[in-house]
Amino acid sequence: MTARDTVQRLVESREESTELRSLLEAGISDDVSDYDFARGLQTHLASVGPGPSGGGPAAPAGAGPGASSAAGATSAKALALAIGVPVVSAIAAFAVFATHGPTATGPTAANTPVEALAPAAREPEVATPASPAEVGRAFAPAPSDDTPRASSHAPSGSQRPSTIQSSKVILAENEPAAPQHVVGVADDHPTIHRTFPEGPVESRRSIGVQSGETAAAGSSGARAAAPAEAARPVVREEPRPSEEELARAERARDEARRAEENTLQREMDELMRAKRALSSDPKLALQLAERGQREFKLSLLSEEREHVLLLALIGVGRVSEAERRAAPYLASHPDSPFARRVRAALDARKSR
């Protein structure tokens, strides 16, 4: 435990009211004993079947991509979603880069600006989340089969001073004094690991090598060369976000969430209006449903709204149009209760 991680819980604080602590104690002591955990486990085992999880155990932390299991591949998909935006940017960079030299390599998360990574990783869909270690692996540079990458262990003669196009890495706070490896993309080298022997990094900082600077890569001999000295990185402090900034970010998120909730609420209200109008005024129901489909397009309520629209079409007597429009709907939702209602309404109208 570190100081930042030591939090006194409210239930342990004598400064809090007895009532507040008793509520928390009720929550803490509630062991959900009414849930049948044994049956739950049986159900789970039945659904996953015998054998190891997820088509094989996850690769151990730190295992290279070459050792990835099927589970790792699954997680990689989730991660691909999570870091989609920066990867797309990186791929674009790669495409540009590939045109400049035969030894070009694919970009990695390590050379993607972290500011771009963070938001994309914020809110993945419910798709399989990656296990924590896999997240770590995904952010680590991934070797490419057909594109050799330079490293600090590469022969000293294999590299020469290069022009760094962009490079930015944020180092962890209080990292030990070990040399920091900064990964950059050079115009004529796939990936350059440059060492900055600056000692311990006392606070989070960003190391940027300005565009056009000449950097020596790889060996210590190269580092000692004059061009390398000229290419000392520009180190600038990136202070931790202040309380105010964090609060502002939270407020922005709250507002965005409220806006999203409001949209959903409005959509639900309109759908309810359309449903209520079905029996008394199918024409109005049709207008509302059509407007909803235009305005909200594909949403969680699309399926239900389409079913209202189809019933409204039947209600106003446009049966053949309803049949035509219902065909793909019934095919894509064959077992839904909405589909059953649409079928029943069509059958009833046809039997008249």
Partner: protein, 203 residues
Amino acid sequence: MTDLALRGINQREFGTLLAEEPHLDSAELFRRHAPFVAKFILRMGVPRADLDDLMQEVFLIAHRGGGYTPGPAKPTTYLASIAFRLVHTERRKRRVRSFVETNEERVQDAVGSQDPEHAAVHRQRLEQLQRALDTLDEDKRAVFVLVELQGESVVSIAAALGIPVDTAHSRLRAARKLFKEAVARQSGVEPGLGAVVAEEVTP
């Protein structure tokens, strides 16, 4: 370590997080941590009737992901992060279905097996707790529940949810403030609370 830096986790903290946790497959995760997950799901406001479905989904996702692999998040917070995302999605679906359930029903079953007198008090407290938790948005609620009710560390929560440690602290502070205010309000309007609750759950 870039991902750790992204989350504001330093090396020492990372070391403490990498406890002696082995790789755990989903069945082992269920055996060890199902009560933790069930409690988290309920405190996040999911109706009791949906608990089993969500429990199965959580561990199925863990299974598909290859189980728990040692990393910055503990097995518990790793599972909580899965449950958190499922709860978020489930809540949206529930709103779509106009599903409404009273707070009383939510805790009814949880206390059914206790002696009547104790059960009544416990039930009342759980109802009040749920109502106070309902005033928090999902993000703050998750951090609050994991820290205050389930004793998880902020750093581990941050690692599991993929947020900076400072953000997790910030959410906890905000959640505490709102929670205390909610409890105080409940105390102040206790006689008429039934009406307030009824209004909240009316579709």
